[in-house]
Symmetry: C2
Subunit: 316 residues, 2 copies
Amino acid sequence: MIKKVLDLVSSQQSFLIAAHESPDGDALASTLSLALALEKQGKKVVAYNRDGVPGDFSFLPGYEKIVTEVDASSHFDVAFVLDAGELKRAGSWIRERCDTLVNIDHHPHSEDFGDIYWVDDKASATGALVYRLIKAAGWPIYTDVAVNLYTAVLADTGSFRYSNADGEAFRIAGEMVDLGVDPWAISAGLYESQDEVRLRLLALALPTLRVAECGTFASIAVTLEMYEQTGANGEHTDRFVNYPRSIRGVEVAIFFRQIDVENFKVGFRSAGKIDVGALARELGGGGHHNAAGGMVKGTLAEVEAEVFDRVGQLLR
Amino acid sequence: MIKKVLDLVSSQQSFLIAAHESPDGDALASTLSLALALEKQGKKVVAYNRDGVPGDFSFLPGYEKIVTEVDASSHFDVAFVLDAGELKRAGSWIRERCDTLVNIDHHPHSEDFGDIYWVDDKASATGALVYRLIKAAGWPIYTDVAVNLYTAVLADTGSFRYSNADGEAFRIAGEMVDLGVDPWAISAGLYESQDEVRLRLLALALPTLRVAECGTFASIAVTLEMYEQTGANGEHTDRFVNYPRSIRGVEVAIFFRQIDVENFKVGFRSAGKIDVGALARELGGGGHHNAAGGMVKGTLAEVEAEVFDRVGQLLR
């Protein structure tokens, strides 16, 4: 599969690189590492993401290359769609604007799109697949590409903590560090740098902590009123679910986030025993065994009561 | 140096393995990885630490082997002292109770003790040196040793985030993962598992957040009253200083921790520009450029006023 992709790269000249909307670290950094590597090979490259680059990622070398719109008249020899389970999450129009569509991803159940379809659901990150491609091509890895490859793997393995942090993920990281990547600078860029309003919001959210069912489930909540009091918004709640999740013995962690006066988004994380995907589907939502979510109507008290009741039934 | 150590190991039979008091992850896990590896080679091994194994580390394979006292009549062919800048931090008596003393460490400025003195201050962890020893010996690495080597490197590199996380650290981790180590299980054991009362305490502490001098310094505080309200104690405040520290732009983070009715411990962290060691010495305390602390008398309001005034003078 890699050989097919490399043959295509060497015979073609213009490339579009895209990834899924609301991009995370792997989506952005694998886009950038492939874009920068192809540019060094003298290719014409456009890096695209519908939602652009969130501020947290502006430390990524080349981030300013990512465009949010592509001229309607442009056509590409090859489009790479990275880290996107479905083409529409990157942009359905891409299909019509390239000769060959290449789908590179590490998510299971990826929709089977693309003229070349390279999905390895054992890989820790799409960035790991881009790494394999670059190594197979024999291209040198300059620091700008190294920082992006490192970040892609770091981001999708939760800083090398999740179970998908495999031997390859660590070896890629080690090689990038040898090539000049500073782990602290990247970690500080990604995780150690938050707005004061996020901490102010956390200070209001933590007192909502509820622990129930003999300590097996725990929740925290963020309301619209808290946003008003702090000037924070929904983006500042990223990783809040880790607080209830971090309590010893908690099997299911829940994060209630108010969307408007009558709706809460409910996010679930399971420590493994409980299938929160099934739970979320009962609520009309969706997700995986260990991470899922849905939407529930009501006041915080009503929403908590409904969700606690359902989770309690599962745990009993 | 490694060859000297290996010659000694193959010719001798009884070994004491010790590390510094108040042991951290690297001290304990490098002790255990060497002890377990030597036992597999048929050696007689005593693993010792004056302070035993803190509860957080009871997931380490072999932790129950670590004794806090060694019979006064026992004598060892070889004593390994690991990760200890000075012999007395492991136990001065060790010198008299062995034929050959081996000092293995990665700290700079280590006191020059030991018949064999192997200090590599470029190594990420003492565990990395034990790894090199085991590899040079050609011993197989079983899972119990792998978990300890992984933990040693993880702990001393701050989960692969600090700048000492070098290529070797990542490669060791990758090899251990290939040998069956589960990164999530270890990270959960070490960092993701906290008492509910710690979160309750954090919920009371975060609202004390003060940000001053145009966002360049920030503090939070914990009082005796908060302990009473939550049932928490001083041990639960570990890493609380990371909250003010995490705010973008903060140069000096401060943590006020009440010790008794009229005294606060004041901990400082610097992002690099300000020498908080000098600041702490002004207050009668001590420490390094980036991490230091001291004790200040007064109510929270008085202590905050005094410290903010001093820090403000430094930043202006």
